[in-house]
Subunit: 268 residues, 2 copies
DNA sequence: TCTTTGACCAGATTTCATATCTGGTCATAC
DNA sequence: GTATGACCAGATATGAAATCTGGTCAAAGA
């Protein structure tokens, strides 16, 4: 459209544009679903040429993955803020509660976690194994940390709690899909849920996690602050590195600071 | 209802044959998956004519549903035996433990609950709403019963526990699918599970349920026996009526005793 | 008369060839 | 060195023809 007068060496320009592409993609994704969104649509939505999109992401799928990554990053960022504000948020039951709501309030993540085929097309669950691995590692470290601080029930191994927590959390997440009509689109919005509000369901999840996995012995406030700081570090690391394997600038102008943003120009 | 003379030779013959059809169908289902099994295959496997199959079930899908129904009935029957032998089995955490294992040890049910598309074809999750409703009702009554006997945590409503229990249970079930390679067939049998054995995972589920939903106050042995009897009645009712809406003989020769069997001739 | 059967048919599913669309590339303009 | 959009191969949609199979029913058998 309007070719930029004077090529810019300014890296922040690239990052800003990447964000604009992600914005456009997210908007289209939510409105039409992955199926019906073409790279050209996104380019038009971001007021750039189609080829330019490919300067930022190698493939369409990686672009969409980046959109989801950003949504995840934002959800986790929200949690991190909460943890800094109120350290107890790092305790598993608070964590589960807040993360559950953070996901359910984001249509993109709801769709991702509930594997909504309409939203995702065949993109559903095409998880990068590397991400799963990292996720698993962080989860493991999180629970090991909790164990060290004496937050968890002593009779359970950290990896066992990690497993059971994951199963429980996903059970509650999937239950949301169920009562939204999940697999069978014909059954949308059945009467009324057994437990009326989303908030209450989040509470139930939190109670379950607290009673099943946590030690009922209270943690000292300063201990809790230390733990929270460690957990924040852990998750910050997760978010920062998220998906960067193929987003790191090959020409090397993506520096440390760039890691806070996704989609820095990557083509050669 | 006494059958008119000469009308039907021997009702038990019909039931026996129905069982043979189900056996043949189950065998083929497990070996080839719903996709590849035709009604004719089943008829041949049961040594009868194709039309005869339709004297027992109106449609192919109802036949397959009956196969699954029988598997469910057998799993529940197994639980009922356990409950009579050891009344504590009716407590939610024992129940979850045993039901989890009963399902996981039955390939048909594993496939059903994990919605294995290879096994089920597009049959997956084409649940009869009536069944869901009945299931829901029984679950509700089960937890209300538990509440009355003071087994559940007092601060939670029976329906809330029912919801949370269901979510948790399904979470653990789905986790099994996950580590079997679930949705992405390419990722079959990843390394080794975080929690090594199926038994241990069942234990984790049981602990979670016990701690999260049950009152830690022990129940007197005789109280427990009464509760178990009630629960056995409840589930017996569920199993007996299972799927009978369209299996009940229209000519009326399916009597009370028939309810223990599925697939009594139903054509006009 | 009532039960059982298998040939039969409509409609569903698969196949295969053709047309269309779109992800990704690259020569060109800036 | 950066940005672009015309271009192309391969993916995907379309549709016609061939095949298969669920379900029916007239007739044979008890």
């Amino acid at each position: 459209m309007s070719p930029t007068a004077g090529r810019s060496r300014d890296p922040s320009r690239g990052r800003e544009r990447a964000a604009r592409i992600l914005d456009a993609a997210e908007d289209l994704l939510l409105r039409h679903g992955a199926r019906r969104v073409t790279v050209e649509d996104v380019a038009v939505g971001a007021n750039i040429g189609k080829g330019t999109v490919y300067l930022h992401w190698e493939t369409r799928e990686k672009l969409f993955a980046a959109v989801f990554d950003r949504a995840v990053a934002r959800a986790i960022a929200e949690l991190l803020v909460a943890m800094r504000t109120r350290p107890s948020t790092c305790l598993p039951h608070h964590f589960a509660h807040d993360y559950f709501l953070a996901v359910m309030h984001r249509p993109l993540l709801r769709g991702l976690l509930l594997a909504d085929p309409e939203l995702l097309g065949r993109l559903a669950r095409q998880h990068d194994p590397a991400w799963d691995e990292r996720h698993h590692l962080v989860s493991e470290r999180y629970f090991r940390l909790l164990a060290e601080y004496g937050v968890l029930r002593a009779e359970l191994g950290a990896d066992e709690v990690a497993y059971a927590f994951q199963a429980t959390f996903e059970g509650f997440v999937r239950a949301e899909g169920e009562l939204a009509g999940g697999e069978n689109p014909a059954l949308r919005s059945a009467a009324q849920p057994a437990v009326a509000t989303l908030e209450r369901r989040a509470d139930l999840l939190a109670r379950t996690v607290e009673l099943a996995f946590e030690n009922n012995r209270p943690v000292a406030a300063d201990e809790l602050r230390l733990l929270a700081a460690d957990v924040v570090d852990l998750f910050t690391d997760l978010v920062d590195r998220r998906g960067f394997a193929d987003l790191v600038d090959r020409r090397g102008f993506a520096d440390r600071a760039d890691r806070a943003e996704l989609g820095t120009p990557a083509a050669s």
